[in-house]
């Protein structure tokens, strides 16, 4: 019998139950670990299908660089298995220790600092199986590292927040982990100086895996991780100075390095009670936005070489909505109780609306997202 607890959550453990639940529900939200609480919220009138029992690695071929996993599987479980074979998910999933699942990582489309090196979850998701609004199992993509057949449904699911269906099984491309890494911080008095050094690094041949900017009191620290074989890393470390413009640097010990990036990936630098917002941007747009943020005192980090801002906002959201709009930027609320999932300048557009109409004509999966435009 499917297990149901007090809030009518269903936790199916086999596929027939899973499918039955989708067929029987008029309005449905799939839920993984709930680590992105703003995205996992269950709107009124929606049933919740909890994937806690829908777990397991169904196929792993280390020599193929591929792994296939049920959507409810904790990322930590997958990461542990990959590490045994010297491999990793190169998009560097977030909130792993907090309990993020593979399905939630895909649906939220969030990437950690390590996405800088080889790409985001969109670049490593090869295949997807999901239950559509009728409860039928749909497969898209494939299980090999290269495939160009059919529309790329796996990519469509990335960041979709479950609006097209319930993710059931996912196949990823994996890569070898770097044999060793070093993390170095370089401090600058202004954001512009930190960015200028960052740009030099992004154009350099150095094998950079992570590249974040951490604003502090009167200083901006450029943190970056280099990866590779130890001998090669030593030589790269020597070359660094030419790109850093004489900045004061600090090298983290191996232990501190782990703690440092763990803090970033688990958002330990901010309080879970604040609103956490993801803002995609570019280094130039980041510089303009930073001008407006610098006096505000909100905790924040720029990640992936100025391509994303993680902003912890502890006052009312209306002002952030206006600020983002004025910069023509949009933000996704990851933690917090915002009425909308998206703030700032964001419009789904006609293409998105047509895809939604095609895949979920009855809005069964509208659920977990409080889109600013409910028509999507």
């Amino acid at each position: 019998m499917p297990h149901a607890d007090h809030d009518h959550r269903m936790k199916p453990g086999d596929f027939t139950e899973l499918q039955g639940k989708v067929r029987d529900s008029a309005k449905l939200v799939f839920q993984g670990g709930g680590t992105k609480n703003a995205l996992a919220a269950i709107p009124e009138g929606f049933a919740c299908l909890d994937l806690a029992n829908w777990t397991g690695i169904t196929d792993y071929e280390p020599d193929e660089y591929t792994i296939t996993v049920r959507a409810g599987t904790p990322v930590a479980t997958v990461a542990d298995v990959l590490i045994e074979n010297g491999q990793c998910l190169p998009f560097d999933p977030l909130l792993v220790e907090a309990g993020a699942t593979i399905g939630g990582s895909v649906a939220s489309g969030l990437n950690g600092p390590g996405r800088y090196r080889y790409g985001g979850v969109r670049d490593f998701l090869l295949g997807v199986k999901y239950l559509d609004w009728k409860g039928d199992l749909v497969s898209g993509g494939g299980r090999v590292v290269k495939n160009a057949a059919g529309f790329d449904l796996p990519k469509l699911m990335v960041g979709s927040l479950g609006m097209y269906g319930g993710l059931v099984e996912l196949t990823f491309k994996v890569f070898p982990r770097p044999i060793s890494t070093i993390t170095v911080g370089a401090s600058y008095p202004t954001y512009d100086q930190a960015t200028a050094a960052m740009v030099q690094l992004t154009l350099s041949p150095l094998e950079i895996f992570k590249l974040d900017i951490e604003p502090g009191a009167r200083t901006y620290t450029l943190w970056f991780q280099l990866g590779g074989a130890p001998e090669a890393l030593e030589q790269q470390r020597v070359r660094l100075t030419e790109y850093l413009g004489g900045a004061e640097t600090q090298d983290l010990t191996a232990m501190n390095e782990d703690i440092f990036w763990h803090t970033a990936s688990e958002f330990l630098w901010t309080s879970p009670s604040t609103t956490l917002v993801k803002v995609p941007l570019t280094p130039k747009k980041a510089a303009l936005l930073e001008d407006d943020l610098v006096e505000s005192g909100h905790s924040r980090r720029y990640s992936c070489a100025g391509n994303v801002l993680w902003l912890s906002w502890d006052v009312e959201l209306g002002s952030l909505d206006s600020l983002l709009s004025s910069h023509n930027l949009a933000g996704l609320v990851v933690w917090g109780s915002a009425k909308r999932a998206v703030l700032g300048a964001w419009e789904p557009g006609e293409f998105a609306r047509r895809i939604k109409r095609a895949l979920d004509p009855e809005n069964k999966f509208y659920g977990a997202v409080k889109w600013s435009d409910s028509r999507i």
Binding site: E61, P62, D63, E64, T66, G109, N111, G119, G120, R122, D123, D132, D136, V138, G142, R143, V144, V145, K146, N147, A148, A149, G150, F151, D152, L153, P154, K155, L156, M157, V158, G159, M163, F175, I179, L203, P205, G228, A229, L233, K278, P280, L281, T282, P283, C304, N307, V308, A330, G331, L332, V342, G349, E350, F351, A352, R354, I355, A358, L359
Partner: protein
């Protein structure tokens, strides 16, 4: 609709010299690189601006006339085959490089830009556009993104889709939408990801924002010759298992080597049954380290001859042979079909043996060139189309090879796309529910089914 309505509608957009209707002018647009398919369009227009493309799509939509966007016509799957009586919108003149921004490492280009031109424009900043299909010197970005083209360096760098950040597209009914942006991060569903590889069925991409990468500082390119394909394949497995991520891992069989040598004298050993090409690239110290490891693996393998490119010219020469292999095979045979299936890397040797047996069964020669690192096969089936029944036999063999790829858990196309050529084979890979889903999406985007009509879906 009459043909006059169409001609009047287009004549309002294009001057006479860019509106081709004369059969002698149309003939060169009748097919692409899949030359066994040929159809005559009613009109070819040579668009120079995005506005012209948008207006053309508007006219076609209003009159219910099918249209096909065409770049350089290098599709190997018949992806830009015209529709009889339809319009071909040629995009080669829609070729402005709008912006190269080295600080943000992006290029914004119109979709008629030639792939290699992007890398040339980015080179002064030490940047490159990574996707490098063999047709790189002539194929366009628009064609690349419509078919999610690959290339020799996909193992490390991914396919076209991994390098497109934003798009401006005209949907099949003339509506213009912007997808994605200039950041590598985004929110909401990955619509750019869905659009790329949609084979022209979602309208026409007008402009694309491309991700640029720093040009690798160092590279090492190694040729290793083996007495069997299996031994070359075994070495690929060893390299992959070692934790190295080579930029490229390619294998050619004897027939392909013979053809390439005859065409470009790349210096390949002619007696070799399996030739492995491995390329490492990246930061100098890293490449030096990885090279030692690579050579250890190759020397421990059954390679009977190993050549390391000593400079950029030698490296180019090695690649010239590989990249010319398809056209070179034309020297061995009046006609050929190139297939593009994928098998799991570890099943490569078995799959190649099966292909050899199938070739024997059909009494047709098959040359093999493949991206071994990705398990992406390119069997070239040689035949003489002048002999009655042989084309059909070659197509049957091609179909058997695709079935074999699916049976091994792979794909019917790694990088050439479905196009016209493989549309009948889609149901091998996708269930009825899967196909219904693809159809449903297609119908919502293009209810009249005008944009690149006939591609991807079985007729």
């Amino acid at each position: 609709m009459t043909r006059d309505d169409l001609r009047d509608g287009l004549a309002a957009i294009y001057p006479a010299e860019r509106l081709l209707t004369n059969p002698a002018q149309l003939v060169s647009y009748e097919s692409d690189a899949l030359t066994s398919y040929r159809e005559r369009p009613a009109v070819v227009v040579l668009a120079e601006t995005q506005a012209e493309v948008i207006e053309t799509v508007g006219v076609c939509h209003a009159l219910g006339v099918p249209f096909v966007a065409r770049g350089s016509g290098t599709s190997l799957s018949g992806g830009s085959l015209p529709v009889p009586g339809g319009v071909v919108i040629a995009l080669n003149r829609l070729n402005r490089i709008i912006k190269i921004d080295p600080d943000e490492r992006i290029a914004i280009v119109e979709t008629g830009v030639i792939n290699l031109e992007v890398t040339k424009a980015a080179a002064p900043y030490g940047l490159l556009y990574a996707p490098d299909p063999s047709s790189q010197p002539i194929c366009t970005i628009g064609g690349n993104l419509a078919f999610n083209s690959g290339g020799a360096h996909c193992l490390k760098y991914g396919m076209t889709s991994n390098h497109i950040l934003g798009l401006r597209v005209v949907l099949p009914d003339g509506e213009v939408v912007d997808l994605g942006g200039e950041s590598v991060e985004s929110i909401g569903p990955d619509l750019v990801g869905l659009y790329v590889g949609s084979e022209g069925l979602f309208g026409i991409a007008l402009q694309a924002t491309l991700r640029l990468l720093p040009k690798p500082e160092a590279s090492q390119t190694v040729l290793a010759a083996y007495n069997s394909l299996a031994a070359a394949g075994e070495t690929v497995s060893e390299i992959v298992a070692s934790g190295l991520v080579p930029a490229a891992l390619e294998i050619m069989d004897n027939l392909a080597i013979q053809a390439a040598e005859a065409a470009v004298q790349a210096g390949y050993p002619l007696d070799c049954e399996g030739l492995l090409i491995v390329e490492l690239d990246g930061e100098e110290a890293s490449v030096a380290h990885d090279f030692v490891e690579l050579m250890r693996i190759i020397h421990a393998s059954e390679a009977y001859q190993v050549v390391v490119a000593q400079d950029a010219d030698e490296r180019l020469q090695i690649w010239k042979g590989r990249k010319s292999a398809f056209s070179a095979v034309g020297r061995l045979s009046p006609d050929y079909i190139v297939q593009d299936g994928v098998v799991p890397r570890s099943r490569l040797s078995e799959a190649l043996l099966d292909i050899q047996h199938l070739g024997d069964k059909y009494e047709l020669r098959v040359a093999n060139v493949f991206h071994a690192g990705d398990g992406n096969l390119h069997p070239l089936i040689l035949f003489d189309g002048r002999t009655p029944g042989v084309l059909e036999k070659a197509e049957q063999l091609a179909g058997d090879i695709l079935q074999l790829c699916v049976d091994y858990g792979g794909s019917i196309t790694g990088e050439h796309g479905i196009g016209m050529e493989k549309r009948a084979f889609m149901p091998l890979m996708f269930s009825e529910v899967d196909m219904d889903t693809l159809h449903t999406i297609h119908r919502q985007i293009d209810p009249q089914g005008l944009s690149n009509q006939g591609k991807m879906f079985p007729s």
